[in-house]
C-alpha cells in the first residue's frame, strides 16, 4: 500500500463518499485512485471553486465530501470559501498539493509557496501540513475536527510525503 492508497483508505475510513477535483501533478495519482473507487462518487470540475460549492451542497445531503486540487487553485477560490462557507458556517475539507515548497523548483509555483499560508491565516482557515506517512492516519480525526470548526479546512500534501508519485 503506497502513500496515495493510504490517503485514500483514510478518506474512506472518515466516511468520505464524494470527491470533487481538478488535476494537479502532485495529487493526480490520488484523484485516479478515488475515481476508480465505487464507494466514492467522483466529480471532475472546470475550476476549483466549483469543488467548494459541490462539497457544501453534499454536506446538506448528508454526504461527506472532499475537494482535491492544487495550491494554485486554492488561491483562486478563497473568496468563494469565504462568502459561501464562512458566511453560512459550512465545513469543506480540502486536500491540496503543497506546491511552491523548498523542494518545488517550478517557477510558476513560487508565489503560491510564499503567500498561501499567510492568506489562509488572514481568512482564519485552519490547515495542516502532512509530510510524514504516519500522519496520514490523522485524516479521520481531521475530518471530524473540520466539521466542528464549521469552515473550510486545508490538508496540504508535501512533495516529501508524496515522493516519486509527485
Amino acid at each position: 500500500m503506497d502513500v496515495n492508497d493510504k490517503i485514500h483508505a483514510q478518506l474512506v475510513k472518515a466516511g468520505v463518499r464524494l470527491a470533487a477535483s481538478l488535476p494537479d501533478d502532485w495529487v493526480n495519482t490520488l484523484i485516479r485512485r478515488i475515481s476508480r473507487d465505487n464507494q466514492i462518487h467522483h466529480v471532475p470540475v472546470c475550476r476549483e471553486a466549483e469543488t467548494i460549492a459541490i462539497c457544501a451542497g453534499a454536506f446538506f445531503g448528508g454526504v461527506r465530501a472532499v475537494a482535491i486540487f492544487g495550491n494554485t487553485g486554492l488561491l483562486t477560490c478563497t473568496g468563494e470559501m469565504a462568502t459561501l462557507c464562512l458566511r453560512h458556517a459550512i465545513p469543506v475539507f480540502c486536500i491540496v498539493s503543497g506546491r511552491g515548497s523548498i523542494d518545488d523548483h517550478k517557477v510558476y509555483q513560487e508565489v503560491q509557496g510564499r503567500r498561501t499560508i499567510p492568506l489562509l491565516q488572514a481568512y482564519d482557515y485552519p490547515f495542516r501540513i502532512i509530510d510524514k506517512e504516519e500522519e496520514i492516519e490523522d485524516i479521520p480525526n481531521a475530518y471530524e475536527w473540520h466539521r466542528l470548526q464549521k469552515r473550510p479546512f486545508v490538508l496540504f500534501l508535501t512533495k516529501k510525503l508524496l515522493g516519486t508519485a509527485a
Binding site: 471553486a49 446538506f60 445531503g61 448528508g62 462568502t83
Partner: protein
C-alpha cells in the same frame, strides 16, 4: 416564481443570491430552500453536490443570468454528471438587478440555452412567457434531468421590490439542514449538532 412554486412538488430548491432568491422566499416562505448569500456563480455547483447526494429527491437550482455568466463552466460539470434529479432554471433579465439594474455582460448577445446545449445538456429550452411556462412545467418536472430552462423576464425598475429571507448566515445552514433531515429522513448534522 408563483408558477414555478405551483409545480414544485417535493423539489428541494437552491437559490442563487439576488432577486430570484428574494422572490422565491416571498412566494414560498420555504425552509427546505437554500438562499445563498455569497459565492456568486456557484449556486449551480452547490445544487449539483446536493443533487448527487440525494439522488431520489428532485433538486432545482434557481440561478440568475449574472451568476451563470460568472461560472458558465458549471454547465460542463453538470453535463459531465448527468444528474437525473436536477433541474436548472436561469432567471434571465439581462441585468444585475440587485446592483441598480446595471446591464449584463454582452447584453442581448449571449444565448444561454445554446451554451447549455453546447456544454452537453441535451434538454435545454428558453421560455418567454408565463402561460408557456405553466404549460411546459409538468413536462419539465416529469422529465429526467439534467434539464436547463432559461426564463426570459423583464427587468424590474424597482430593484429591491422583494426583501430577502428574514434569516441568514449560520441560521440559514441550520434551518435548511434541519428541514432536509425532517423532509428526507437523512442525517445532516452529527449527534452533537455539528
Amino acid at each position: 416564481m408563483k408558477v414555478l412554486a405551483k409545480h414544485r412538488g417535493d423539489a428541494v430548491v437552491v437559490c442563487a443570491l439576488g432577486m430570484a432568491a428574494n422572490e422565491w422566499w416571498a412566494v414560498t416562505r420555504s425552509e427546505d430552500s437554500f438562499y445563498m448569500h455569497g459565492g456568486m456563480g456557484f449556486a449551480a455547483s452547490f445544487a449539483l453536490g446536493l443533487a448527487l447526494s440525494i439522488p431520489r429527491t428532485p433538486v432545482w437550482v434557481l440561478n440568475s443570468d449574472g451568476s451563470l455568466c460568472m461560472n458558465t463552466g458549471c454547465l460542463i460539470t453538470e453535463a459531465g454528471q448527468q444528474p437525473k434529479n436536477l433541474k436548472h432554471f436561469v432567471v434571465d433579465n439581462q441585468c444585475y438587478q440587485t446592483v441598480e439594474t446595471m446591464p449584463i455582460v454582452n447584453q442581448g448577445g449571449a444565448d444561454y440555452t445554446a451554451i447549455a446545449r453546447g456544454a452537453g445538456i441535451q434538454q435545454a429550452i428558453t421560455v418567454d412567457g408565463l402561460a408557456d411556462l405553466d404549460r411546459l412545467m409538468p413536462e419539465i418536472v416529469a422529465a429526467q434531468g439534467p434539464y436547463f430552462v432559461r426564463l426570459r423576464v423583464e427587468a424590474e425598475p424597482d430593484y429591491q421590490r422583494a426583501p430577502p429571507a428574514n434569516y441568514e448566515g449560520p441560521e440559514m445552514k441550520y434551518r435548511f439542514g434541519r428541514a432536509l433531515e425532517k423532509k428526507l429522513g437523512i442525517r445532516v448534522f452529527g449527534p452533537r449538532g455539528f
